[in-house]
Symmetry: C2
Subunit: 361 residues, 2 copies
Amino acid sequence: MGERDIAAILVTTEPEVRYFTGFHTPFWQSPTRPWFTVVPAAGKPVAIIPSIGRASMAETWIDDIRTWSSPRPDDDGVTLLVDCLRELAAGGRIGMPMGPETHVRMPLRDLDRMRAEVGGFTDVTDIVSGLRMVKSELEIDKHRFICGVVSDAFDEIPNLLSTGMTERQAFAAFRAEIIRQGADDVPYLVGATGPGGIEDIIRQPTDREIVDGDMLIFDTGSTYDGYFSDFDRNFAFTSAAQAARDAYRAVWEATEAGIAAARPGATTTDVFTAMNEVLKAAGSLGHDVGRMGHGLGMQITEWPSHSASDDTPLVEQMVLTVEPGLLWEPGKAMVHEENIVVRAGGAELLSRRAAPDLPII
Amino acid sequence: MGERDIAAILVTTEPEVRYFTGFHTPFWQSPTRPWFTVVPAAGKPVAIIPSIGRASMAETWIDDIRTWSSPRPDDDGVTLLVDCLRELAAGGRIGMPMGPETHVRMPLRDLDRMRAEVGGFTDVTDIVSGLRMVKSELEIDKHRFICGVVSDAFDEIPNLLSTGMTERQAFAAFRAEIIRQGADDVPYLVGATGPGGIEDIIRQPTDREIVDGDMLIFDTGSTYDGYFSDFDRNFAFTSAAQAARDAYRAVWEATEAGIAAARPGATTTDVFTAMNEVLKAAGSLGHDVGRMGHGLGMQITEWPSHSASDDTPLVEQMVLTVEPGLLWEPGKAMVHEENIVVRAGGAELLSRRAAPDLPII
């Protein structure tokens, strides 16, 4: 902030407020109340929050907690926030994340009013993402724990699922197993089943019954103490075509290449390219999701992206997903995913590596 | 829209996009990609979304799906969106929810660029909230189902929990039970334990062990097919002081008053006042959370609020929570909550009514 001449930074979203304060609650799912934190260039952050959050915020390291009785639609914290920004910035420049992967969580009407009162804001997405992309060892420990829990739960899949179950029952069984193994929550669980392969892998369960010859993908972001895992696994029921087995193996090999490429000094684009070469050699028909993995942390996806143009330099203690995907037949996609932390000597796996051959249940 | 002379409405958040399109995925937890829907005054909505969502969106009633390969930070859908707004609005006024309980989910940098290109927007929070506040019978059926599931899970609490468990174990046991009973997910679970009472009821679990004399509150928003329940229950372990039992009974009576007041023709403020009178008579020390219940739907909280100033007229088929709370001793809060749907003859309960006396485990 000193280098950029930023006097104070305003953050409004759950992960940023949690990152700077330690305030952790699922209460953010309610859209009713805005929550603000102002980070001055020197001294502790100041929390400007609805009074319902005072008791929880008081247990964090924050001393200066300013509250109002929210909801109060005609002034839902705006006056308090404007006063705080004027006080802490003292005429200096005020930053706010305004770039990729950010948004401002307050009514646009109130945002416009605030901007009219305190003047322009400077984009500080780079400052916030630069901090959050590199994890502490305490953060990495939480990632390692939840990745271990989900690895254990995936190992139970052959005992949990069978033909005749519906997708909805399969999702419920897997979700309960992840909780049983020690996750705090399973905020993200997508997947699908399909005869011989799957087109759309980000689906919610239906009442479709699993039958012989189906393929199944589960992709879950589970959490422990507010930190995510994010990886998937693929299975077939009873049998699978050779083309499906080949596609599985190709994406497994692409994952190997991505993991090997993830070293300090390389970039996210190097990791992308390493995976992409393997997929091209395997005859991919393309799989247009814009990237092949991303940062992982307090959100299921964070900066940076393994893409053709992202080119973020990798440094030690970045926690990343490696996530190649290919379209191996029209309408049939195969995506693998592992979680790693970048270390001096190369990637440390956080998830337990998927089997090299397609598991048949 | 015709009455207000609005040519098109832009929505950017998960519940609004889902409401107008049917597109339902937890993928929105990833902050990386923006998703847009434009609702014209005549004709079907148009989806402007990342290509990763095309297959899922193609299964909804939407015909016009415009995609780009996201993430693409230098133009993450903005050009596509601007072109679509110009085409569908054809010089007419463009609406966007800009008021209470809304925000715009796209980078502020991109929002500013879009506004510079297409001109001013009109706030249409009232149009969107007016639609969403009144549920169809199909929506109400989903609410009734998930409220029944959670009622059944709460009934199992005496069999699931005991002294000696940690909060974390208790949360896990209850979460797994809700899934077992048929919920798709438990996105929201807060609660706490405390000797003789609880101050902060929106906490996440700790490794604190439950002991004789503790009180426990669980408050959960669970979902079925994307629709929420939101109600809580209170318990004591082994024994409870008379003051705690009295506080429980007072809030139970306040809930009765709130349910009785929730009739077509009354307002949210009437419901608030009915509950507040009971709490005042019980000697409440206050409980400053700004309201005593709210709308319920695709989000755990939606418009309107039972507050002293909200004054929204109640109409049939509104799904609401009734949620009085009191501070019965300094640092000890008691909150009850039920879910109802407003009917011509009065409220229909969706949750199974809490016991009138504090349950002792």
